[in-house]
Symmetry: C2
Subunit: 331 residues, 2 copies
DNA sequence: TTGTACGCGTTATCAG
DNA sequence: CTGATAACGCGTACAA
């Protein structure tokens, strides 16, 4: 364990000078800087983040509240966050909220007690007021929500446009009775995706039928269950827009269980373009909006916040990925 | 920010006493203990892990080297680790090694500089010597490898038995020309799974044919490619044992691309029982060995190590999960 | 531009 | 059983 003090001794300067050079806190003469650089290198000195955290209040770690670390959706985002933070010397601290308000609150509590320099929240159940309050004590970036504050930045990709794209695609192929599989409506993105679906129907002059809409939970099991619900309602449909890929996977299986083939009997479009969607049978047509990129942008926004800048995010527009789960409606 | 010192003041005791109560370092009179407990509660005191880390050398955080944080396989394991560690007040620090020796080394470097109390390595490319050396400076648990040391514990689930189970199942249904999709052989688990396949063949008196074995990389894309390889070799087979589920997903698609149906034309068994395997078309028969549980056990082992105990792991035996990707061979 | 001295919140050592 | 006191390694006013 090489300490800053040892570096100072070897370079023949005071510890503060070393610290200054490390943090760029003040200008230092070239001579001493060279000596210190040399000492750092030969001694293999690495500043101790723990001590740094105590002294300077900065731990160089960013808390990330995810809902389920093992989710294929969030996993992608976490990857993006990790890579982006690493480039700036920060380390992410991942904690799971388990789609549960209490757990989420506890997760953030854990992060704060760990003195993270910032918190990134992916979706979640905490209400805006609580997030705003939290942002008084630590800068926050929230993904998939609409909140704002001095040190609170939020953004989403365009869920509504993406959902509209998917629905329009089905309509353009002649489908008029399009079922909608929805996520939990306490999430803004679920609502936005529903609105995109409404937009497309309205533009095509197709009336909304509540019977065709089933609310679920963004899981494969939920997608499968949704198909059951639809069948029980005994309502006709030739296509499904599943507002995320995971539910689409379950739906495909649910349909198969009832001897309905995709796309021959029912067309289906998903949302997210998870990696797995290339390998389902049939490969799933879906809306792409790099989740990885979203994570990276969230991390980037946090870094801006930390530098005292106003973050800006540049997210690519959602894009339709055509694969094989859709065909022209039979008339 | 309530500090230990404030708690001490309010309880009318010295900081040391509060610290002792917090850590159970020494016996304290009931009276003072009660006063301190009360003070802690009313003040809402939470010890500062950063300060703790500096003073006591323990950061209450465990480094976890995973290969790709967004992998469906590792994701499950990370979940198990997170939950198990949390119960003991530890926090995991996840870093990705990207299946790359240099990255992995750098990841561990990062963890050490963060002063983690222990390191859990999931598979990885570092050689045993290096891991042993590392374990001098920090207790380590390695999953999916065979290494040992004073403060170095490793374990794997029984890959060989699982692979044998899968292959035997295929054989029992009359398949004799069984292709094997392999992961990268620099990993012990890939070798073990291959050996399990050999075991089953040997027990049934079926000769090994190198032509039926294709080495790949545990990804969906790799599975798809493997099927192409097999077809190019122009070798007959009626079943595939894919040594992980992800390759099986790709293989199913690859077969479909050549108009081969699962299980009608080719039976296929996977390994890992990822959640997605229930929702593929058809649902995948596979070998279950709770990845989540493996992660939890790894974390548990680390906690034992930290308590100075010798870890023991109790992993359930791998188990065959029968779904719909397999049928009796046509003769 | 540089050094000194102190503080960050805890734990550990040593008296008592 | 309990309380001073000294670290832990670094950042930062303050002084020079």
């Amino acid at each position: 364990m090489v300490t800053l003090e040892q570096v100072a001794a070897r370079a023949g300067v005071s510890p503060s000078t070393v610290s200054r050079i490390l943090n760029g806190t003040a200008t230092v003469s070239e001579l001493k800087r060279a000596a210190v650089d040399e000492a750092i290198r030969t001694l293999g000195f690495r500043p101790n983040p723990v001590a740094r955290g105590l002294a300077g209040g900065r731990t160089m770690s960013i808390g990330v509240v995810t809902q389920r670390i093992s989710s294929p959706f969030y996993g992608e985002a976490l990857s993006g966050i990790e890579v982006e933070l690493e480039s700036a010397g920060y380390v992410p601290l991942f904690v799971s909220g388990n789609w549960n308000e209490a757990d989420e609150r506890k997760a953030i509590e854990t992060l704060l007690s760990r003195r993270v320099d910032g918190v990134i929240v992916l979706a979640g159940r905490l209400d805006n007021r609580e997030l705003e309050a939290l942002s008084d004590s630590v800068p926050m970036v929230v993904v998939g929500r609409q909140v704002a504050g001095e040190r609170l930045f939020s953004f989403s990709f365009d869920n509504r446009a993406g959902a509209r794209l998917a629905t329009e695609h089905l309509i353009s192929l002649g489908h008029r009775r399009i079922a909608l599989l929805l996520g939990d409506l306490i999430h803004d993105d679920a609502i936005d995706r529903q609105n995109g679906y409404f937009d497309a129907l309205a533009a095509a002059g197709i009336p909304v039928e509540q019977e065709l809409i089933v609310q679920s939970d963004y899981t494969e099991a939920g997608g499968m269950l949704s198909v059951s619900r639809l069948m029980e309602r005994d309502v006709a449909f030739s296509a499904i827009f599943s507002s995320n890929d995971q539910m689409a996977y379950g739906a495909i299986l649910g349909l198969a269980r009832r001897n309905l083939r995709v796309p021959d009997d029912v067309s289906i479009v998903g949302f997210d373009d998870l990696i797995m969607s290339r390998y389902t049978m049939p490969p799933l047509s879906t809306v792409r909006h790099s989740v990885y990129e979203t994570g990276a942008q969230a991390a980037g926004a946090m870094l801006s916040l930390l530098r005292g800048e106003r973050p800006t995010v540049q997210l690519a527009a959602p894009e339709l990925v055509l694969r094989e789960s859709v065909r022209r409606a039979i008339r």
